[in-house]
């Protein structure tokens, strides 16, 4: 069975690099969102196992998406992948239920490690 993943990032380059960095050992069913609002729409419409979420996005930012998810039951695992990795920001994000915080530019190994720790690998 493939893993349903939502990749939310306003940058195409970044989405591509995130998707390319996913370990090859698994199969993925990938949905892309180009801003926070699109991500919220996708999350309201279908079920996802995993969300790979950027923070700095137009319309609604990553924190907005986390706030949306925080208010709902049965939320998917969220891994935040952000260029803004100030400790303060990480604290906010983790408090809103994100499972991991990864820095941009994304390191393949770090992503694999996070997926392993979350039990996907």
């Amino acid at each position: 069975m493939s893993l349903s993943v939502l990749v939310a990032d306003d940058s195409k380059l970044s989405r591509r690099s995130v998707i390319r960095s996913l370990p090859q050992d698994l199969e993925y069913d990938i949905t892309e969102a180009t801003n926070g609002q699109e991500a919220i729409n996708a999350l309201s419409e279908s079920e996802f196992a995993l969300v790979l979420l950027d923070l700095t996005m137009p319309e609604v930012d990553g924190v907005g998406v986390l706030e949306f998810l925080h208010a709902r039951p049965n939320t998917p695992n969220v891994i935040v992948i952000s260029a803004d990795f100030q400790p303060e920001k990480q604290k906010i994000v983790m408090a809103l239920g994100a499972k991991r915080f990864l820095r941009k530019p994304l390191d393949k190994e770090e992503l694999a490690m996070a997926l392993f720790e979350l039990g996907y690998l």
Partner: protein, 194 residues
């Protein structure tokens, strides 16, 4: 009058993302040093005429201005616009004693520019695998007349904004590239996108 951006959509997107990452690094650097949270904007990329560049710089009222040039694989200038508001709070965070002298303020401005613009440029160069060296920043006051007389037609500008959350301080950093450097950067971006 709008000018056609000399980058295609993919190149623009890529550059924006790279800038975003660089800003993150820059903000983190400063945040570490002054132990406070810094908000960053989504970077803006556009092509401007000298007059447009001038009005871009003057969007912030009551500001300080600095410029510094960078050399290496790509050449250009970085202009920073720092709000006067909130600067004294930042000075306190930077361990300066009140009251601030005129020289203290200038020093703080130059240091902030050096850290943020420097880190931003360093991050961008690193990701593009380009070598750049930033020269020392200097204070300057943009003069409308001088801008009208500039020789170039249009320039690529990358604009990023940092806001220090607990004070009203904000700072914009505007990167300008010359034509040759723009061509080189486009090549590098294409390699990255391939």
């Amino acid at each position: 009058m709008s000018i056609v951006l000399p980058l295609d959509e993919e190149q623009r997107d890529a550059l924006q993302e790279l800038l975003n990452i660089s800003m993150g690094q820059a903000a983190n650097s400063l945040a570490q040093l002054i132990e406070t949270k810094i908000d960053i904007s989504i970077p803006k990329i556009s092509a401007v005429t000298p007059t447009q560049l001038y009005s871009l710089l003057f969007e912030t009222k009551d500001a300080f201005y600095t410029r510094q040039s960078f050399l290496g694989d790509v050449h250009g200038e970085v202009m920073s616009v720092l709000s006067q508001a909130g600067l004294s709070e930042v000075a306190t965070l930077m361990d300066y004693d009140e009251p601030l002298s005129k020289e203290d303020i200038q020093e703080i401005i130059l240091e902030l520019c050096n850290i943020l613009a420097g880190a931003c440029l360093a991050g961008l160069s690193e990701q593009l695998e380009l070598t750049t060296n930033l020269n020392m920043p200097t204070l300057f006051l943009p003069d409308k007349a001088n801008f009208d007389e500039l020789q170039w037609q249009h320039s690529l500008v990358m604009e990023v904004q940092f806001v220090i959350a607990i004070s009203s301080f904000s700072m914009r950093v505007v990167f300008c590239l010359d034509d040759e450097s723009l061509a080189r950067m486009k090549d590098t971006l294409d390699e990255l996108l391939a």
